[in-house]
Amino acid sequence: MERLIEMIPLFTRSLEETLIMVGVSLFVSTIIGIPLGVLLVITQPNHLLPNKWIFHTLNVIINIIRSLPFIILMVAIIPFTELIVGTSIGIEGAIVPLIVYTAPYIARLMETALLEVDRGVIEAYQAMGASRSQIIFRIMLREARPGIVLCLTIATIGLIGATAMAGAVGAGGLGDLALRYGYQQWDVEVMLITVVMLIIIVQVLQSLGNWAAKKLKKKA
């Protein structure tokens, strides 16, 4: 027990590392992913801006990135990571691949959420003379809010899973703690505690997401 109390700073530091990695990469991935998701929807045939070329290119790129396991993606893009943040290790070194990994995921989830918006509603505003940007920002993104919230919740949880592997480049985090102490040193207690912490975080996040989506939908 005393040993565990001594380790408290280790836990809090790991938690902090996880939160930073998740927070920053979620923020940037969302900024990249949402426009990509919108593009993925409006370039479909019979939508606002049909464009086969953009649609298929995006589709293929997203599929390629999405089919790589995170640990492989992280190693594969080391030169790119170094180009962007000047290093491929530590938290900064992990955040770049996390973004590359999560942004296409968000784009894909956004696509699903936005396709839920009734085609008839979009058509109604086209018929009333609304412009494309008005339809995207004031109709589609607003109508899809419950779906978008759920999509970001799922993406966040996926991101937490991916940060566990960020330990491989020395970025730390809860997952790394569980791996190093639990798996490599067979320290069951530490592993259990980190796992419980992760479970609690995921539970809270999912409940929060569900609650917000429900709240938005209820109004609807």
Binding site: D118, G120, V121, E123, A124, Y125, Q126, A127, M128, G129, A130, S131, Q134, R138, I139, R142, E143, R145, L216, K219, A220
Partner: protein
């Protein structure tokens, strides 16, 4: 107000070419309510959507309010569309906005000042009878109420034309009636031109001035509603009218008719206006030695004009029957001699 000329529309479904419109021309006058009726797949929805270019025709010309719609730039088209309101079968309201915002949003997009939006939306909601539901969400409304929101939204941009895409098809008969009353009301109040498509003859009968009957991508018959109802030419038109005047006579009854005299006919008599109220049959029987027998009779009002349809069995001596038919022809709108097969179901 609206001139469609030789509109053709071909879709490519897989490798097959489907011709939805095969050269349709249409002329809708300002302030009238024009109905297009047809079974599903007749092309009426495609036709309606060419008016605001939600469907771009493969060929033909679309002139709305003197403007050649097909020559407009994207920006000009958006401007032109603001003068053409549209309502839908499934309402297409924004589920995340309340009633007020559903009507207001298009005005906000058009950068109308806030206080003017408030005044305008409140007026519109009062017009459609939803003033007390302004802060309800669409999911809390009935179908009829949702369509009222749709109508208020369509009127928000002060359109000169209102397109109705099967606007009452998802509603029950009573609600349909109240929505039609509302459409008639705004047609009179704002001299709004209304084009509606439907598969229900009841809708045509209730509010339309003129009607076009569509089948397989062409208009097969067109005219004032009164003319079409009193004298339908095409079988499809007759089928639609049967939903209002079900003038079929069961076989058993036809078989039971006993002619008095050598000549016997079944007549389809259409009365119109005042003639529908004159005692024509009484005069006929007292003046000519014929026996008459009413097989079917119905009278209805089409936009204020009475229209009566009678199926009459008449028998007697040849001369007397001939004279009475002539008398009838002079007294009523139209008399057709029909065969037994035509009236039997």
């Amino acid at each position: 107000m609206i001139q469609l000329t030789d509109i053709r529309k071909t879709y490519t479904v897989g490798k097959k070419q489907v011709e939805a419109l095969k050269g349709v021309s249409l002329n809708v006058k300002k302030g009238e309510i024009f109905g297009v009726i047809g079974f599903s797949g007749a092309g009426k929805s495609t036709l309606l959507r060419t008016i605001n270019l939600l469907e771009k025709p493969s060929s033909g010309s679309v002139v709305v309010n003197g403007q050649d719609m097909l020559s407009l730039s994207e920006k000009e088209l958006r401007q032109a569309r603001k003068k053409i309101g549209i309502i839908f079968q499934h309402f297409n309201l924004l589920s995340s906005y309340n009633v007020f915002d559903n009507v207001a949003e298009i005005l906000r997009m058009n950068k109308v000042p806030k206080d003017e939006i408030k005044r305008k939306v409140e007026d519109l909601l009062r017009l459609v009878g939803l003033a007390d539901k302004a802060y309800h969400y669409p999911s809390q409304l009935s179908g009829g109420q949702k369509q009222r929101v749709g109508i208020a939204r369509a009127l928000a941009t002060d359109p000169e034309i209102l397109l109705c895409d099967e606007a009452t098809s998802a509603l029950d008969p009573q609600t349909t009636d109240s929505i039609l009353e509302l459409l008639l009301d705004i047609n009179r109040k704002f001299n709004l031109t209304i084009v509606l498509i439907t598969h229900e003859m009841q809708v045509i009968k209730k509010i339309c001035d003129r009607v076009a009957i569509m089948e397989n991508g062409v208009i097969i018959e067109e005219g004032t509603v009164l003319d079409i109802f009193s004298d339908p030419k095409q079988p499809t038109t007759r089928n639609f009218i049967k939903t209002i005047f079900d003038d079929e006579v069961p076989q058993e009854i036809l078989a039971g008719i006993k002619p008095v005299g050598p000549v016997s006919h079944i007549l389809r008599v259409a009365f119109r206006g005042d003639a529908a109220l004159d005692p024509v049959l009484g005069t006929l029987c007292s003046r000519y030695p014929v026996t008459t027998n009413i097989l079917y009779g119905s009278i209805t009002s089409i936009k204020g004009t009475a229209l009566g349809i009678l199926l009459l069995h008449i028998s007697g001596e040849e001369k007397a029957v001939e004279e009475s038919i002539n008398f009838l022809r002079n007294s009523v709108y139209k008399v057709d001699i029909v065969t037994r097969e035509e009236v039997a179901n």
